[in-house]
Point group: C2
Chain length 242, copies 2
Amino acid sequence: MNRDVPLKKYAKKMEHSYAMGAFPTIELLKHQPEHVLKVLLHPDMNSQAQMEIISGLCTQHGIPLERNGKAVEKLRDKENIFAVGVFEKYSNVLEPEKNHIVLVNPSDMGNMGTIIRTSIGFGIENLAIIEPGVDVFNPKVVRASMGSLFQLNFCYFKSFEEYKEQAGSRSLYPFMLKGAVPLQELQREKGETYSLIFGNEATGLPDSFADEGQSVVIRHTDHIDSLNLALATGIGIYEFTR
Amino acid sequence: MNRDVPLKKYAKKMEHSYAMGAFPTIELLKHQPEHVLKVLLHPDMNSQAQMEIISGLCTQHGIPLERNGKAVEKLRDKENIFAVGVFEKYSNVLEPEKNHIVLVNPSDMGNMGTIIRTSIGFGIENLAIIEPGVDVFNPKVVRASMGSLFQLNFCYFKSFEEYKEQAGSRSLYPFMLKGAVPLQELQREKGETYSLIFGNEATGLPDSFADEGQSVVIRHTDHIDSLNLALATGIGIYEFTR
């Protein structure tokens, strides 16, 4: 494990990334300690409690803890960030017997982080991303997820077909403005394994998804064009896990 | 009406603000035409359909339409913005017989816009903001709301006490991590008028709100600290308007 990676601003092609802020860094240390290269602390960090948690976890897992104000200032995009967890990117596989969220061509990093946080919050821990899609390791996604990314199984797929081949037997629920059944009225089999499928922020799912399983619509007034993607996903997850 | 306001970047103290982008500008023209000072178009705007809607609405309401690429470039924060609606700020009052959303000290502009969009989408058109709270006229809020702000009745209050005095008789539902009843199990009277109350992004509602009406919790796993505010609000609105 090469811990001496160049501490440059994040770019997608890099093999490491950053958890910015004490809370996401603690989540990183708790859930993915084997992938943490080091933790950087800024001398202005003043939460003694958070510092002790970070330092305890670093000691426990043999992770270097560095006082390096300069590097933190260079990497952070907000002035109130005093801790940065540096980690090597990792990959994992989806659990075929579990429920999944499938995002087809998601493009907004804030939405992606919020969706991950909500998904973990309601117990869905597997996320499929159909390419092209936003990079989950971008520090903006990590931060919007409040570090819950580190509890997620996620996997990128070249196409929805490729996803289906690997996903195992399950019910598919594409969420579409033209969905056949309103979410509020959906009848489901108890104990079924499912995938909730959502399209891109601007374009939604292609019409062809109407033939994939049971299409669903979240009914709203015609005073708005559509719901925000993170909101639609959150409401879908809430309803399916009630 | 002085239409010749200085076309400077938005600041809270200004008496006018901006709808950035064709879609929010069209919403502005449709719902608040009497407050529009002018519309600025960038010569690179290439959606003929949107241009015709904007120009039709401007003609109908006697609003000047200006080709002014320089001003658009100065005001916009994203390169894909080619239309800017310049409007004077306005105030309105809440409808006492309608359902309300109450945000206590909201601090994030993106969340605020998303909450407005969701609220309008599910038919709740009255929003109370307890100060200090984010400025709804900030162009970032307008944009995150996709222009649905222009369909909203909103009002700022110095305190929750002041809000209650003016809100009329209604049921209060503060959403709190320590809420007494899970949202999923809440029993309500049919046809009641209600207010859904949400706290600040970082701190939530003060404990004292447990005594205001029926406190509610959105149950989630302990794998996350809390839900994102816009998500919690959206799920609350969805459940109350099902």
